[in-house]
């Protein structure tokens, strides 16, 4: 299995997290995303005509889109069905709903980070405002979930790919000038993810303390 990877990409980080949680061996093919723009090279455009990362090759299969890759990996390599609960229609619906929400986080919080860090030309104020709108929704959702004794975005005792899809650009949001100070439930959820066995870091993400509880 080969991951076309860029260290500073949150979308690539999602896949590295998933593969580590699943304990799968994989090979990385580092892509000079910045400043080399290698993801727009003919070789990579052939694999993904959208010119984006990540791309996963597994046998003959070539997949693009972080959320699609998460879905595939969880369904194929997690026999317990915890990460992607296909046999439970309610939870499956929730997962799909929050995977779409994760795309919204990419379009806002990640865009603001690309503007501040890699000088992408875009309306950064709109991106930051959009990120705060989504963070308020997520924070409220997580707060009410905690009241029900639920640690993760979707119901049930185990995290799902929805958590992994939302986590990277939330934890990297400050690099785009989006503070998480006003979202205590989001901050607690981030710490819970960091304490999962198999959790790995990326540049810009730091470990947390072990739970006091």
């Amino acid at each position: 299995m080969k991951l076309y990877d860029y260290e500073l990409s949150g979308n690539c980080y999602k896949i590295r997290l998933m593969l580590n949680f699943l304990g799968r061996e994989y090979e990385t093919r580092p892509v000079d995303f910045y400043p080399g723009r290698e993801h727009k090279s003919p070789e990579l455009m052939k694999l993904n005509p959208l010119g984006q990362l990540p791309i996963l090759e597994d046998g003959d299969l070539v997949l693009r889109d972080a959320q699609a890759i998460l879905t595939y990996l969880a369904h194929k390599y997690d026999p317990s069905g915890q990460w992607y609960p296909v046999s439970d229609p309610d939870r499956l619906g929730q997962v799909a709903q929050w995977l779409a929400f994760a795309d919204g986080i990419t379009a806002t919080a990640s865009s603001a980070r690309l503007h501040d860090t890699l000088f992408y030309e875009l309306d950064v104020e709109a991106a930051r405002a959009g990120a705060h709108r989504l963070f308020r929704v997520l924070d409220e959702h997580l707060w009410f979930a905690e009241q029900e004794g639920q640690d993760w975005i979707c119901s049930g005792d185990h995290p799902t790919i929805a958590d992994l899809a939302c986590f990277p650009y939330v934890i990297l949001s400050e690099e785009g000038g989006v503070s998480r100070q006003d979202y205590p439930a989001i901050r607690r959820w981030c710490d819970r993810i960091k304490r999962l066995p198999g959790f790995v870091l990326m540049s810009g993400v730091f470990p947390t303390s072990q739970s006091a509880a």
Partner: protein, 302 residues
């Protein structure tokens, strides 16, 4: 011409705008320096041009000298384009290693950091954070001690020099095979530029060192463009591998930098409590104070 910032110390400096590698020849590029919108281009003959941005020459359009705004000085040095919005100094600091034929000069990318240039230089000079921020690469617990080192301000060259710096590093460079005590020398030859020299894996006996540099472009008081690069004697690792290694390191520093408070650098010696390991940072703050810098810093109370 209206100037957004009035500090002559920062005005009368050469400032980096871009690595030459990243210029698309013939096209207009936009950037910001000291809150001033600027544009630059490399024309078809390879000559460099910098001017105050004008709506007549938008970014990504072909460069047309007739339409460009008021020209600024443009200088090519160390693989970068430099300009000055005040009275340009005659010279820009030398980096002799860049001219050695068996080295690669690898610009590792320019990154925006939401903090002042001074804070960024200070972090670059600091060894104390290695085990905690660059765990497993540039340091690891419990080997956290910063040993005694020397700092001098060279009067003849007007630069800060820190020597005899030593630190245990599990993976000092991409070409390292195991952990080692690595020797460092730091140079700050410009208020916003710093270089570090570290023993090059395999070349310790010859005393030759890799050079890692950071040239900072202050866009505003609290938003900096950090041009990073390395000049290494490393013929085995690819250009891309070296780039990737350096980006991992800088990506780890970035959130630490952005959480500095205040974001501008306090020059008052009583503003923050330094420890012995901060010797080079203290020298840097004093040096800036003596120059009378006010931009991007909190000057000491008189």
């Amino acid at each position: 011409m209206t100037q957004a910032c009035k500090d002559p110390v920062i005005h009368n400096q050469w400032h980096p705008l871009t690595s030459l590698d990243e210029i698309a020849q013939g096209l207009v590029h936009d950037t910001v320096l000291l809150e001033q919108p600027l544009s630059y281009a490399m024309d078809d003959t390879g000559a460099l041009h910098v001017w105050y941005r004008t709506p007549a020459q938008p970014a990504h359009t072909p460069y047309d000298p007739a339409k460009a705004g008021n020209a600024l000085p443009a200088r090519s040095k160390h693989g970068y384009l430099w300009t000055c919005v005040g009275k340009p100094p005659k010279d820009l600091f030398p980096v002799p290693e860049l001219l050695e034929p068996d080295r690669q000069n690898v610009p590792t990318g320019v990154f925006g950091v939401n903090v002042s240039a001074g804070r960024t230089i200070e972090n670059f000079l600091d060894m104390g954070h290695f085990p905690f921020v660059h765990t497993g690469i540039l340091g690891e617990e419990p080997r956290t001690e910063v040993k005694e080192y020397d700092v001098e301000i060279s009067e003849s060259r007007d630069e800060i020099l820190a020597t005899r710096c030593q630190f245990y590093q599990p993976k000092a460079a991409l070409a390292s095979e195991s952990g080692a005590d690595v020797e460092y020398v730091y140079r700050v030859p410009h208020i916003n530029c710093a270089l570090l020299y570290k023993s090059s894996p395999g070349f310790e006996a010859e005393g030759r060192m890799d050079v890692i540099y950071m040239f900072l472009q202050p866009m505003t008081r609290e938003w900096t463009r950090a041009h990073t690069g390395m000049c290494v004697i490393d013929l085995e690792n690819s250009y891309q591998g070296i780039r990737c290694f350096q980006q991992v390191i800088f990506g780890q520093d970035k959130p630490i930098l952005e959480n500095q408070f205040p974001k501008q650098l306090p020059l008052d010696t009583r503003a923050e409590t330094p420890i012995r390991a901060d010797k080079s940072a203290i020298a840097y703050r004093r040096w800036l104070s003596r120059k009378g810098l006010t931009y991007g810093v909190i000057p000491a109370a008189v």
